[in-house]
């Protein structure tokens, strides 16, 4: 998976360049207009460019819509309250997602609570305190970027060795899953938070410092509130990635047959939505594939719900500042 944050940054710098080019081009255009010979090939090119970009958007949209429609067609017959209230079962009619929904909510909820403070803290250090001329700071920075490209199964193995067994020794509990996923998405959230902190105008913090505020006061009262929309975006990306992860969770204790909900972050025995869907897809009976399709709809809906919460926070802050 390419690093979305870096892509984002690249896109922006590209946009800046193209804006510059556009200005130059506009200048040239005015000139050519003045000369009365605006080139036809230039006009054609801009139409072609627009068509190409539209095509890109349509491809992305078409894939998504196809997936959703396909899942709806396959799963609609099982999209009912039973699906949400029943527990896993070997009999397709009795099978449901209750323990998987609660498992996913616990794992992802605890992951957010863990990862956001960690990532924001790291981002504040790297942006506001770290001296980039020091070699260790540069190593930290380089490693965070590299971590974003590590395959998720590797984090699963790390989680098994470090969190489930090893030094933390939590056992196969839901919070072990949260921590493993937190490690997995940490780089994404750090990079997004750094970008958000960096984009706070320096005039704001300079002004605050000039009025005698300490660095801590400046960061807490001026930099962070203005960075929240960006941090929320990073969290959305993180949740979207984490909620669909299966492989690392299978290693740190997510099981396929659990007929009770987790009682807390440290209760043993949990399952999550993607694990349950994966299990159903691989069953011989057709009815289980219908269930899997219905499960995909439920997963998408829960993801949408969680993300709209983050978007609500982002918009609130974006409007007020």
């Amino acid at each position: 998976m390419p690093d979305p944050d870096r892509q984002d940054r690249e896109t922006r710098s590209r946009m800046r360049t193209s804006a510059r080019q556009a200005i130059t081009a506009a200048g040239a255009d005015t000139e050519s207009l003045a000369l009365g010979r605006r080139s036809k090939s230039e006009a054609w090119k801009s139409v072609a460019f627009l068509a190409l970009m539209l095509f890109c958007v349509l491809v992305a949209l078409a894939l998504l819509v196809t997936l959703i429609i396909d899942a709806f067609i396959d799963g609609s017959s099982r999209l009912n309250a039973d699906l949400l209230t029943q527990f896993p079962s070997g009999v397709p009619e009795n099978a449901g997602l209750q323990s998987a929904i609660f498992g996913s909510l616990w794992v992802i909820g605890m992951m957010i609570i863990t990862v956001v403070p960690l990532a924001v803290g790291a981002a504040i250090y790297l942006e506001e305190y770290a001296d980039r001329s020091k070699w260790y700071n540069r190593i930290v920075e380089l490693n965070i970027q590299n971590l974003a490209a590590v395959p998720s199964i590797v984090f699963g193995i790390l989680g098994l060795g470090l969190i489930v067994r090893g030094p933390l020794d939590l056992g196969f509990v839901a919070y072990a899953g949260s921590l493993t996923l937190a490690l997995l998405v940490l780089p994404t959230v750090i990079l997004a938070s750094r970008e958000a902190i960096r984009s706070v105008p320096s005039s704001l913090s300079d002004g605050s410092m000039a009025l005698g505020a300490t660095k801590w006061q400046t960061i807490w009262h001026h930099v962070l509130p203005n960075a929240i929309p960006g941090i929320a975006t990073g969290t959305i990306l993180a949740v979207s990635r984490a909620i669909g992860e299966t492989a690392p969770l299978l290693l740190v204790g997510a099981t396929v047959f659990v007929t009770f909900n987790p009682e807390g972050p440290f209760s043993e025995g949990y399952t999550t939505l993607p694990v349950q869907i994966f299990n159903w897809v691989s069953r011989p009976q057709d009815e289980f594939r219908t269930l899997a399709a219905a499960g995909i709809i439920v997963l998408l809906f829960i993801l949408l719900l969680m993300n709209s919460f983050a978007i609500w926070i982002r918009n609130r802050y974006a409007r007020q500042t």
């Binding site: 896993p88 079962s89 070997g90 009999v91 609660f102 909510l105 616990w106 909820g109 957010i112 609570i113 067994r165 196969f172 009262h221 509130p225 299978l250 290693l251 204790g253 997510a254 099981t255 396929v256 047959f257 659990v258 007929t259 009770f260 909900n261 987790p262 009682e263 807390g264 043993e268 025995g269 299990n279 897809v281 691989s282 069953r283 011989p284 009976q285 057709d286 594939r289 919460f309 926070i313 609130r316 802050y317 007020q320």
Partner: protein
């Protein structure tokens, strides 16, 4: 300005707290209400291992919990190898396996002082499937299967398998190399675990894809568990296999009787002797054998024969009486 910011931080915190609190409250509802039956067992049983055996263990757990609501059974699918890794660390009570325990796993269990028995809880007949329009391959010998699937095989047309077969392209579908089915088939047919030609359509862990592949290709061929044949009799057909004693079709009777060689196999659970000292685990193991027909039916597996059932009960007895050491 400052107050409003502070309020906004507070808002986020409050909102998160409400969200988490909501989750917690939602979970509080169904705390165990196990105080209904007088003789109900209670406790928890952790099972992990082969994804081929998991449907059996799930069915057993489900039916067992219906009678003993105080017992919590969880079933994981780390694979036979992954299951033994946890089992020999004492992290699980029962390990599901679609092959026998290997030497290094025996060693790991011995080092940790874990005792166990290999108890057969079901049977499976790996089936070789062909297209419904294929009217020539009714029976294949092990040699022919080896010629098709062997690691050095260049066979790509049915008339290369047998000159009397028509000129039809052979299209192969098989499971990924992580699968226990792959291990078992390669060992039984090619003589060495993991040895198989690599230019086939790899369907990974999704056997349904192999069914679709064979259904769509007149010259298609695949191998997978017997349950996929039972569920897809309108789409694919199983060929008979001749290992020197005549052609045998996979069926409940031939697999149970041990006639469907070399592709018939047992499905096992490995309970630990220590766990079997707990009444709920012992109750579960006995229930697994006692109600094997119903469990196997739900899991689409081939149930135990009477002999197998007797042997399983004897093994549980041995392990219960000797499990303390």
């Amino acid at each position: 300005m400052r107050i409003s910011r502070r309020r906004r931080y507070g808002l986020i915190l409050a909102a998160s707290a409400i969200a988490i609190g909501g989750i917690a409250a939602g979970c509080g509802d169904d705390d165990d209400d196990s105080s209904n039956g007088g003789e109900d067992l209670s406790g928890s049983i952790t099972i992990d291992g082969s994804s081929t055996v998991a449907p059996l263990s799930e069915a057993a757990a489900e039916q067992f919990q219906a009678e003993n609501s105080g017992v919590r059974v969880t079933v994981g699918t780390s694979g036979t190898g992954g299951g033994f890794e946890k089992f020999c660390r004492g992290e699980t009570d029962i390990s599901d396996a679609s092959r026998s325990i290997k030497d290094e796993e025996i060693q790991a269990c011995a080092d940790a002082g874990i005792t166990y028995e290999e108890i057969t809880v079901g049977n499976d007949g790996l089936s070789v499937a062909v297209n419904l329009e294929n009217d020539w391959a009714q029976c294949l010998t092990v040699e022919q299967l080896n010629a098709i699937w062997g690691p050095d095989s260049k066979v790509n047309n049915w008339n290369q398998v047998d000159p009397s077969f028509p000129d039809e392209e052979l299209v192969l579908f098989g499971p990924g190399t992580d699968s226990g089915t792959f291990d078992f088939f390669t060992e039984a047919i090619n003589g060495e675990e993991g040895a198989q030609r690599t230019d086939y359509n790899n369907v990974g862990e999704d056997d349904n894809q192999a069914v679709t592949g064979v259904e769509g290709n007149v010259g298609g061929m695949a191998y997978f568990g017997f349950s996929f044949i039972q569920e897809n009799e309108d789409k694919v057909r199983a060929v008979e296999v001749d290992s020197g004693n005549g052609c045998v079709a996979p069926s409940t009777e031939t697999v149970q009787a041990g006639e469907y060689t070399p592709l018939g196999r047992g499905l096992f659970i490995y309970p630990s002797g220590e766990a079997l000292q707990r009444p709920e685990v012992q109750g579960f193991a006995r229930f697994y054998i006692e109600n094997n027909d119903a469990i196997a039916e739900q899991a689409l597996a081939i149930p135990l024969s009477d002999d197998q059932r007797e042997q399983a009960n004897a093994q549980i007895d041995t392990l219960v009486s000797g499990g303390g050491e």
